[in-house]
């Protein structure tokens, strides 16, 4: 565990010094702040707009961070040969993979945390400005704790995406890994549709393929409860817990697959 922790801290330190990460974070924070201005343009819907845009910004920029930093994590070490020195130390290959993942997960947690604090600050400012009439028209309070359920599931989704990116980066280039990860994420978003493809497809082979993809790929739509929390539809805590457990199971499976691939690799 000590080695995994050390590798993770090193990844986190390198990530927080990466200008790409700062650019993404600054852009996300700006977008969340700008959602306040956009909200002013809509009569009576300002709170919903801010919540909608804020959660979308956290999910989108989190996805960029997960993919763009995740796909380079292992590849960069192998391509630049820094892995030669590292693996000559008492570091097992699985500790390296898990440490890399833990470091990026920590980076994501901190970034999603920073974006959430900004998001709640904007909502708090709106609540402070609003009069009683405006407040009476809100379906849920501005600083609704239910928003945290949406943020938590976004974070779990990002952790799954990171695990997908890390898995691909153990054997392919960053460009290919990014394309594959994005592909998995997009298909995973429409996972429910894959389940019913056999009802509309004539080809038996395509139906079998769609069914196989449905079982293999994570259902990313399950992590999306943004619409419910924005419209004050209660989100069952049991659902959040079960979906998080589903995400963690996928992460564990993907990391196990990444370790198996990485253990066998020759670093030529």
């Amino acid at each position: 565990m000590r080695v995994i922790y050390r590798v993770a801290v090193s990844v986190f330190r390198e990530s927080v010094r990466d200008r790409v990460l700062y650019s993404l974070l600054v852009f996300a924070v700006l977008l969340i702040v700008a959602s306040y201005l956009l909200g002013q343009l809509t009569a009576g819907q300002d709170l919903k707009i801010i919540k909608d845009l804020g959660l979308a910004a956290i999910a989108t920029f989190g996805l960029f961070i997960a993919i763009f930093i995740g796909v380079g994590l292992v590849w960069k070490e192998v391509d630049r040969r820094s892995i030669y020195s590292l693996l000559s130390k008492p570091v097992r290959r699985h500790e390296f993979v898990l440490g890399k993942y833990a470091g990026l997960a920590l980076t994501l947690v901190v970034n999603v945390g920073a974006m959430t604090v900004t998001f709640y600050s904007v909502l708090g400012y709106l609540a402070w400005l609003a009069d009683d009439t405006a407040r009476a028209g809100w379906a849920a309070p501005a600083m609704d704790p239910a928003l945290l359920a949406a943020v938590a599931l976004i974070l779990v989704e990002l952790l799954v995406v990171t695990a997908v990116a890390l898995f691909f980066s153990t054997f392919s280039s960053p460009f290919l890994s990014a394309a594959l990860t994005l592909g998995v994420w997009i298909v995973g978003r429409f996972n429910d549709d894959l389940r019913h493809f056999e009802d509309v497809l004539e080809s038996q082979a395509a139906a079998v393929l769609a069914r196989a993809l449905y079982y293999v790929l994570p259902n990313f739509a399950a992590f999306d409860v943004k619409a419910q929390v924005v419209h004050a539809v209660p989100v069952d805590l049991a659902y959040v817990g079960l979906t998080a457990a589903y995400g963690v199971t996928y992460v564990a499976l993907l990391l196990a697959a990444a370790v198996v691939v990485f253990e066998r690799r020759d670093f030529r």
């Binding site: 000590r2 080695v3 050390r6 090193s10 330190r13 390198e14 010094r17 990466d18 630049r80 040969r81 820094s82 892995i83 030669y84 020195s85 590292l86 693996l87 000559s88 130390k89 008492p90 570091v91 097992r92 066998r264 020759d266 670093f267 030529r268």
Partner: protein, 318 residues
């Protein structure tokens, strides 16, 4: 005690994407390196030196054969606690400073933060990295990276040190410092496995050498074994004598090289001993400047062995 042992270590690669062809990078390497010696692993470019080191570090897996370091299988974590490794043309993390890198690597060996800082500072002093130690590694020159690479290989006081082309990128002063460092480590009982194609470094540092060509070990032994009985004549330097007088002894002199003024370098056969020629020349008024046996250098031996192996290039197809 044997520090490094390989038994029939072999590595095949597949080359080519569409029609992969097998390529033999290392062919049945069987080698023992005794503890406490500086072992020079020599060979032309592409001979398989780096492949061997990667196999010993388990960065790649052998196709067949085995390797042990300090009695444990290569790649064993307990063995890695006791070794240091400098890869060829090392590269480290852009955003870390030299100090942070060494502290990070020290932490992987379980050293506490304070001890890691102490070791990092001492090693960076040792390899001549001064105030730059707090600058990001991406700003370092190749020679400075090489020095950091040597420092990181020593962070755990290794019992066995593997150096892959350690002089690469270093200026003459840097090379001298590393030579002194290697000799100091040897005196402290560290085994040094030193891969290089610079024979002068090997001749100055190593007690034993192995010569690799085309993936196969073509010669190995101690330097004294290899070079001691390789004397093939004498070089006599005299002064205060004319060329005419020297030529009177011509039947025993194989070569005369004027050195300027009345100084001459004379090459004599190994037998008979040079005393007779020397006493004749002194009798004619010559003064002795020096007398040395003519030996083969490691370079002569290397060229001869590599050429006779018929494997002057790198790896070969199966």
């Amino acid at each position: 005690m044997v520090a490094i042992h390989t038994d029939g270590l072999t590595k095949h690669y597949s080359v080519g994407f569409w029609r992969p062809r097998p390529y033999l990078a290392l062919d049945s390497l069987t080698l023992d390196v005794e503890a406490g010696e500086v072992f020079g692993f020599l060979g032309p470019n592409g001979a398989g030196k780096t492949t061997t080191l990667k196999l010993l570090m388990q960065l790649i897996y052998p196709s067949s054969g085995s390797a042990e370091i300090l009695g444990r299988p290569a790649g064993d974590v307990e063995a890695r606690r006791r070794i240091g490794y400098l890869p060829e043309n090392p590269y480290f993390y852009d955003y870390l400073t030299a100090e942070e890198l060494l502290e990070y690597f020290a932490s992987l060996f379980g050293y506490a933060a304070a001890e890691g800082r102490r070791r990092a500072a001492a090693l960076l002093d040792e390899v001549g990295i001064g105030a730059e130690r707090r600058m990001p590694l991406r700003t370092f020159s190749k020679g400075m990276i090489q020095r950091v690479g040597i420092a990181q290989a020593l962070v755990n006081d290794p019992e066995v040190l593997f150096l892959d082309e350690p002089m690469s990128g270093l200026d003459p002063l840097g090379r001298l410092e590393i030579r002194r460092l290697v000799l100091r480590l040897r005196d402290q009982g560290c085994t040094v496995f030193f891969s290089s194609h610079v024979l002068a470094d090997a001749e100055a540092l190593c007690s034993s050498v192995g010569i690799l060509a085309g993936g196969r070990l073509v010669a190995s032994g101690t330097l004294s074994e290899i070079l001691a009985f390789q004397a093939h004549g004498w070089e006599l330097v005299v002064s205060g004598i004319s060329r005419d007088m020297i030529e009177r002894e011509l039947q025993l002199i194989t070569k005369i090289t004027p050195l300027g003024g009345d100084r001459f370098a004379l090459e004599l056969p190994l037998s008979p001993p040079p005393e007779r020629v020397l006493s004749d020349l002194i009798g004619c008024g010559a003064s002795l400047v020096s007398l040395n046996p003519l030996r083969k250098t490691l370079e002569d031996y290397f060229v001869e062995r590599v050429a006779s192996s018929g494997r002057t290039h790198g790896a070969r197809p199966d």
